[in-house]
Symmetry: C2
Subunit: 432 residues, 2 copies
């Protein structure tokens, strides 16, 4: 059976660096839980480069992209008001609804989804791979759409079984701003959230010494001694990598520090001067009239001196790693202090991580690895997005994370420039 | 200057497996913060074997042992009631007081001590090394004794600056029981505490999905959806290594599960059948009349099948590693589920840890490494010790962790037997 060839998409071809814009089959409902979404905007993301460079292990061509916002144009048979034991979107999503998709599919119904670990859903698939064509197309099929999609307007946060509706009036946000919710903003929020909620960070964020700072599952016998001095609770934090995710991690961390009134010193590290300058401008915007804490951007070499000076040689409480290679992990270990944590959201390769057991033991290091459960992080990320429209609402501005919106015809050039660090985040408008 | 040669001690000689009982210099106050303790009992600990086997990198002989309880017989000039800005023991500790020592020195006054990270104290030293002669002696010098020692009777938990006294009537506990507080019991408590308080465990322990389960430093926008089913919150936990520390970790975990009413399944893994049987007996004692959860002891091979059966192939929420080698870490990775944590309290060597970045990313694994901050964990460990005297109060019994108390003359043989797994925990009575 030959499918109708009636939509445009950006495709990657093996082995590497081969991007083509081609006509491909119009997607169709393959399962009752599917939705077809007409794409309004699709993003080019740092992790697309793993595929682009041929290091993701793919041998088959595929429609690219795992970031997209759009409008529902067709729904499978599962979507009717009688689907009461399914995630609420199955009974409330309608043709014409505006939706955002996380970069992975999550059913909303399995054990992992119920626990909030949505990126490890039992039915998980990653958009932009041969088995799950991506969003850099005019139309895209979304599997398990009642668990995966996030509907705007009347925002519904729902998990299997019981339903909870979080109704909020979302201001009219631009599509380019909403697109941040597919991956980079929740991932940045996830990085900051993990790091600041780690039991080894809690003495700084709660002003109670370890182990009294972790009050959720205390064993008996705990009673909080005090005696902390003001400088003990200053959170010294490093962010390695100021691509869009690292940038979002900095913004999420700064927002938390100011919202919670925490003292901090943040060193934000990247090889690229343009990225560093942009973050410096973002920082002056966020820090206006705030008295606590400060941020310094730095090259790798400078970062060592800054951390050493700031901490008297002790190191950082927390290091966020948003690069995804062993040099970044080694730098993270170098910068982290005893009883510190390294939170890695970088996508890593098949190399053994560069730590000996003794190094980790000797510094009492904790490490968190892995992919953001975007669907579970949506509400927090959306809240930050709405509040920081001065940053996320712009395109190509002094502080905006999105550099430009282009048509598909420029896809090949954009992949090349993005790969070489010659441009920031690019969005594709499939209708331009 | 030659020192008086007037006490007996157990010494290790390089390169390996050479234990001698010899007369050595009576320790003397070398610094105003020192105390001299007359040792009542000293323990032989699993991590002494790193030195015994010559794998700790030591090239000089030393007095062994980092576990001891005893009585203060001499104090430096810092110990007088006027020492009000020092840790409270500097003004309250008296000659004749009964004390327990953690296995590391902690000043109680530095940044790390104030935060509760006492094992990474700026003045940290490990007893039983050339620079800090150990407790397997008749007398021992305790540096920074006002921060390091734990005084019994009227128990004082104090940190620098402000002082908080936690006065409790401690029942008359046997010295052999108190000795558990020097290392193994707090380390077991630390392992369990870290694992159960990790943000990735909180959905199970709080019944709130991630990220709503971490309520301490929430970003705005969080609102807890529900929909968890009962089996979602069963904590499936593996403990690798049933030496004394692993045993204590199991007891601490079980005690927490029962105290908090948490559902669990615990698989406790060791090569050694005698250790497995002992833990099974301990479990029947602890679990009496409790309905929740269960424990199964297992060999390595069996553990894979048990975890797979229990979890439908998903894996454990939490793996505690109390061995200290790469095989144990590899097994931990194999058993842990996506969004699980590996908490390692084993003392590791100079080998690179056996994980690729991709493995850690693909499972969203978190890892905690390092030494127990015993001084900070004392109150929790003491509470458990007091409540579980049916286990910790015995010597050589069916469920006791202490196998026997011997004199120094048997030191060589005991090191050998302990190294070969032919006996359980041994204590030395220097006066026997």
């Amino acid at each position: 059976m030959s499918s109708p060839v009636d939509q445009l998409a950006i495709l990657w071809y093996p082995p590497a660096y081969d991007i083509r814009v081609e006509k491909v089959a119009f997607p169709r409902i393959e399962h009752p839980d599917d939705a077809i979404v007409k794409v309004k905007l699709a993003g080019l993301c740092g992790s697309d480069l793993h595929i682009y460079r041929g290091t993701a292990g793919l041998t088959e061509s595929c429609v690219c992209g795992h970031e997209f916002v759009g409008e529902v144009i067709e729904l499978g048979s599962s979507f009717h008001p009688a689907s009461r034991d399914r995630p609420s979107l199955y009974s409330t999503l309608k043709v014409g609804d505006k939706v955002i998709s996380p970069f992975t599919v999550s059913c909303g119904e399995c054990h992992f989804c119920r626990l909030g670990f949505t990126c490890r859903c039992a039915e998980c698939c990653l958009f932009g791979t041969p088995s799950t064509p991506g969003g850099q197309a005019q139309y895209v099929r979304v599997p398990k759409a009642g668990g995966t999609l996030y509907r705007l307007g009347e925002v519904v946060v729902a998990y299997a079984g019981q339903e909870l509706e979080m109704r909020r009036s979302i201001p009219k946000l631009a599509d380019s701003s909403l697109l941040m919710l597919c991956d980079i903003l929740p991932t940045g929020v996830f990085a900051a959230f993990q790091a600041l909620n780690h039991p080894k960070s809690l003495p700084m964020t709660t002003s109670h010494p370890y182990p009294h700072s972790s009050t959720i599952v205390t064993l008996k016998g705990a009673q909080a001694p005090s005696g902390l001095r003001q400088h003990d609770t200053v959170l010294l934090i490093a962010v390695i990598g100021l691509g869009p995710v690292g940038m979002c991690a900095c913004i999420a961390a700064l927002d938390t520090f100011y919202t919670k009134g925490l003292d901090f010193k943040l060193v934000a590290i990247d090889l690229n001067e343009a990225r560093r300058s942009k973050l410096a401008r973002i920082y002056s915007k966020i820090s206006q009239e705030q008295e606590r804490g400060y941020l310094q951007v730095a090259s790798i070499e400078d970062s060592r001196n800054i951390v050493s000076e700031w901490s008297n040689g002790v190191g950082c409480s927390v290091v966020l790693e948003a690069v995804g290679n062993n040099s970044a992990l080694s730098l993270a270990y170098e910068l982290v202090r005893p009883f510190g944590c390294i939170t890695s959201v970088g996508v890593h390769s098949n190399s053994t991580v560069p730590f000996t057991g003794q190094e980790l033991y000797d510094k009492n290091v904790s490490l968190d690895f892995g992919r953001c459960p975007v669907r579970a992080m949506f509400p927090m990320a959306l809240d930050l997005l709405v509040r920081r429209q001065d940053i996320f609402g712009e395109i190509g501005g002094e502080v905006s994370l999105v550099d430009k919106v282009v048509g598909f015809s420029e896809a090949g050039r954009m992949y090349e420039e993005f790969d070489k660090g010659k441009c920031g985040k690019v969005l594709f408008d499939p209708w331009k």
